[in-house]
């Protein structure tokens, strides 16, 4: 059996809602000389998945730093960017820096806050200062992570309008719309 002082400190620190001072520990456990008992507790936890640490004169038990990956695991969740998202990103990439109102003018529809948030979360766009016009609208620009993700050395590598035309990407709207409708309702064909 571990000595009663160490056990008392261990249980007290475990149940504590915040780090405790030696004074507080002494009051809680009735131990007169807390420091040596704390040293024994620290030694007891040597090599454990939990450790005793002192931070600014307060003591706490905490998980060992090398096990942090167990406690907070990141799980990446592949998600497809919405059409609004990809269009907004394209406008920012071709016109940066560009304000929200300008993006909306080009798209012809309003963009939801979520759209810019998703692009920001993806790390592809960043706020790029305010435009010195009435209302001082915030502008957006792409990030190095954007270039990285899309395999571009620089924004100049983005195909120009003429390239797009040559690639058939500026086809009349009816055709594009038709294609999109087909994509949207793949089962409706008969």
């Amino acid at each position: 059996m571990i000595d009663i002082e160490v056990r008392a400190l261990e249980a007290t620190l475990f149940a504590a809602e915040e780090p405790m001072t030696p004074h507080g520990l002494a009051a809680a456990t009735g131990i007169e000389n807390v420091k040596p008992a704390l040293a024994r507790l620290a030694a007891l936890y040597e090599g454990h998945g939990i450790e005793l640490v002192e931070r600014g004169g307060r003591w706490r038990l905490q998980t060992a730093p090398d096990l942090a990956h167990i406690l907070r695991r990141e799980k990446s969740e592949p998600r497809k960017l919405s059409r609004a998202g990809i269009e907004t990103l394209a406008i920012i990439a071709y016109h940066e820096p560009v304000s929200r109102a300008e993006i909306e003018a080009i798209r012809g529809v309003q963009i939801s806050k979520g759209t810019l948030d998703a692009l920001m979360e993806a790390g592809w766009i960043r706020p790029a200062g305010r435009r010195e016009v009435p209302g001082r609208p915030l502008t957006f620009a792409t990030t190095p992570a954007f270039l990285d993700h899309f395999g571009l050395a620089s924004r100049r590598d983005l195909p120009g309008i003429e390239d797009l035309r040559a690639a058939g990407l500026l086809d009349p709207i009816d055709l594009v719309l038709e294609q999109q409708l087909e994509v949207a309702n793949p089962d409706e064909g008969d």
């Binding site: 249980a11 475990f14 149940a15 504590a16 809602e17 915040e18 998980t63 167990i70 406690l71 907070r72 695991r73 990141e74 799980k75 990446s76 969740e77 592949p78 998600r79 497809k80 960017l81 059409r83 998202g85 990809i86 269009e87 990103l89 394209a90 406008i91 990439a93 071709y94 080009i106 798209r107 012809g108 998703a118 979360e121 993806a122 592809w124 993700h149 899309f150 395999g151 571009l152 983005l158 195909p159 309008i161 797009l164 690639a167 990407l169 500026l170 086809d171 009349p172 709207i173 594009v176 999109q180």
Partner: protein, 251 residues
């Protein structure tokens, strides 16, 4: 007798006595309290003695003119019946038998007693938050879902292309065909007849043209121009026969 049963009497302000039944939850509870006072195992309890005690208790309460809840009186009536049935010679016609009724009551008391004791033992356990404690400030385990947004360069430029295509205003442009305008033909014919004095084929005025469409346009325009100049009296027209060359001369 009242003391023996922990019967609490309260003297209200208006001097009437009330029986404090708060301590008991109904007649079964009171019966169990009385039964426990026999200080024997509930299985060995004398139901007859218990009935006597209950009836005596109720009688005393009524003698003191205490208000008793109806269910206590119902139980008293039932127990009085049970008592007489147990004491009188058994009538085999009566079902269930008084012994069965007594046994049923005994079983009910045992059950209630068992659950009461179980409850007490539960409450006496090392209870979380009273005797044993969980972590005071757990960090919690977190699975952070990090969306990995997917989009390819093609998606991007295709989207921009579609956007551009969508945003260009719809404009219908008739393609420009090579024509000789009437003005040009007028000038040409006027100039040519100024250079020649004799009759000349109108067709000979026309510039050589490889483009068939332009040639036809030039023929039509110069013909109209010749008619216009003739109307103005600046030019004379002559044609030998239908489809023969159209001859012109300054008037």
């Amino acid at each position: 007798m009242t003391d023996q049963f922990d019967l609490t009497l309260k003297r209200d302000e208006d001097e009437t006595l009330t029986l404090d039944l708060d301590g008991w939850e109904g007649p079964l509870d009171l019966l169990l309290t009385l039964a426990r006072n026999q200080k024997v195992d509930l299985k060995q309890i004398s139901i007859l003695a218990l009935v006597e005690q209950y009836l005596a208790f109720i009688a005393e309460a009524r003698a003191l003119k205490l208000e008793l809840a109806a269910d206590y009186l119902v139980m008293a009536a039932w127990l009085a019946y049970l008592k007489s049935a147990l004491l009188l010679p058994r009538d085999p016609e009566v079902e269930p038998s008084p012994e069965e009724l007594a046994l049923r009551l005994q079983l009910r008391l045992q059950r209630l007693d068992a659950m009461r004791e179980a409850g007490a033992r539960l409450m006496a356990r090392d209870r979380l938050g009273r005797d044993v404690f969980a972590r005071g400030d757990p960090e919690g385990l977190r699975v952070v879902k990090k969306p990995a947004w997917e989009a390819s360069l093609f998606d991007l430029i295709a989207a921009y292309g579609a956007l551009k295509a969508r945003s260009v205003p719809a404009m219908h442009i008739v393609s420009r065909r090579p024509v000789m305008t009437l003005e040009a033909a007028l000038e040409l014919v006027a100039r040519m007849i100024g250079q020649k004095l004799d009759w000349a084929d109108l067709a000979s005025f026309l510039p050589p043209a490889e483009d068939e469409a332009y040639r036809r346009s030039a023929v039509a325009s110069s013909f109209v121009a010749a008619l216009e100049l003739a109307k103005q009296g600046r030019l004379a027209l002559r044609q030998e026969a239908a489809f023969a060359p159209l001859m012109v001369r300054r008037a």
